[in-house]
Amino acid sequence: MRTTAQILAAVDAVAGSARSLPELLCDDCATHLGLVGAGIALMNDTGHQGVVGASDALTARLEELQFELGEGPGLDASRDNAPILRSDLGARGSATWPVFGPVAVAAGVSAVFALPLQVGAVRLGSLCLYRSAPGSLGVEGTATALAYADAATEVLLRLHAEVAPGSSLHSDLGDMLRLRAEVHQATGFVSVQASVGITEALLLLRAHAFAADRPLLDVARDVLSGRLRIPLQEGEDG
């Protein structure tokens, strides 16, 4: 299987071309998992916010369709905070998604796997994988798909923070799921202190770590102990 770090390295290596980071990631994912295509959409607590990347035109169309209809696996995954894995779309897809299901089947999709891109309550988007053959992803395929979801989560966080593609980040910014409890606690803490939503709080925390060139865990511990205020007050130098 591929790890999140390997995926991000592969995507970063080809970044800077005409294609965006999400598109490159979708491409890489579709190739490695033998898919028809993969697509990334932005989501927040109120629903679908638009498509950010797809591996090809057909997948882009399926992703757009979910946005237009307000129905589909990506939306369900984000709303339920859980992967939605449909290994036989033809058999059950129409019941779940009356419009999206039949359109996807007609387009040659037999299985769809939608993964939420989120860090706890921080909802960022969804990664949808479309495959022509029915059946499950298997143990290794599932592990690889989850690693792509982690990498896509990181890519969306970078897009939000407007970090230039290919710029090097702390190694611990690459894998949000591996983060220690203190980082998640600090995210909640900053959301109160800075009076912002939980998503913006995580972005503020990461931006501070990035700008100060410090590990995220150290910054989180300083926030929790009261040694550091984010955002910095006037006159402070962090």
């Binding site: 939605i84 894995l85 860090v119």
Partner: protein, 240 residues
């Protein structure tokens, strides 16, 4: 009450949570509390594999930072990692052998005051999805009956997590594990909100939310989300 009577009570209590509104986090919290009680341990935790090679603690009888640290450490070495890799119980490892097998883990455990640690696998046929970790302040050996009971509790954890529908498809294991891990992160974020807004120490935030979720019959995940959204505040938790 005899042990047998208490045991049947616990099994009924756990079975009672295996309903439609099932929430993995609530269930595992109850399970760790009962495991400590029935096996005379001092702390317990459930560690899950995220299917990408990392172990995460999702339930623990105490949120003391040092204890969480002990669970975390086992991504590198310790009874849980060995139990997870081998798919078999790792119990009754003497202090001397433990020092040799897990030098860092043994030192860290001793610093917190634990003299023995046991791990039982959460196993479904060929796949090991995690492990239950027990810590004791004394150098306790588990009897064969204790090990059998501990494994029965670990098996219930597996059943609760994966449920009957998951057994049919490997992918569905990912659904349940991923959901449990996300819920746990939400609880951590909510603990940070309670600390910043009301000065609740992080090792007490969990208990406040857990007590509230029980009293009001709402899942921990929903309670955590409500704290993050500032729908619930510490005043709601302290109201009898």
């Amino acid at each position: 009450m005899t042990t047998e009577q208490r045991l049947s009570q616990v099994f009924v209590e756990l079975a009672d949570t295996l309903v439609d509104e099932f929430d993995a986090l609530d269930f595992l919290a109850t399970l760790t509390e009962r495991s400590v009680e029935l096996l005379n341990a001092d702390a317990a935790g459930v560690i899950l594999n995220d299917l990408r090679g990392n172990l995460h603690v999702v339930a623990s009888t105490s949120d003391a930072a040092q204890l969480l640290e002990l669970f975390e450490l086992q991504n590198d070495e310790g009874p849980c990692l060995d139990c997870f890799k081998g798919g078999r119980p790792v119990v009754n490892v003497g202090i001397d052998e433990a020092r040799e097998r897990w030098p860092r883990f043994s030192v860290a455990a001793a610093e917190v005051g634990y003299r023995s640690a046991h791990a039982l696998p959460l196993r479904l046929r060929d796949s090991v999805v995690g492990a239950m970790n027990l810590f004791c302040r004394d150098d306790v050996r588990l009897s064969d009956a204790d090990i059998a009971l501990g494994q029965a509790l670990a098996d219930i954890a597996t059943i609760g997590l994966l449920q009957e529908r998951a057994v049919r498809q490997s992918g569905l294991i990912a659904e349940q594990l991923q959901t449990a891990l996300t819920s746990r992160i939400m609880v951590e974020q909510a603990k940070g909100v309670l600390l910043a807004s009301a000065g609740v120490p992080v090792d007490q935030g969990f208990q406040l939310m857990r007590d509230y979720s029980r009293r009001h019959n709402r899942s921990l995940k929903i309670v955590a989300q409500s704290v993050i959204d500032r729908v619930l505040t510490v005043d709601d938790f302290r109201r009898p």
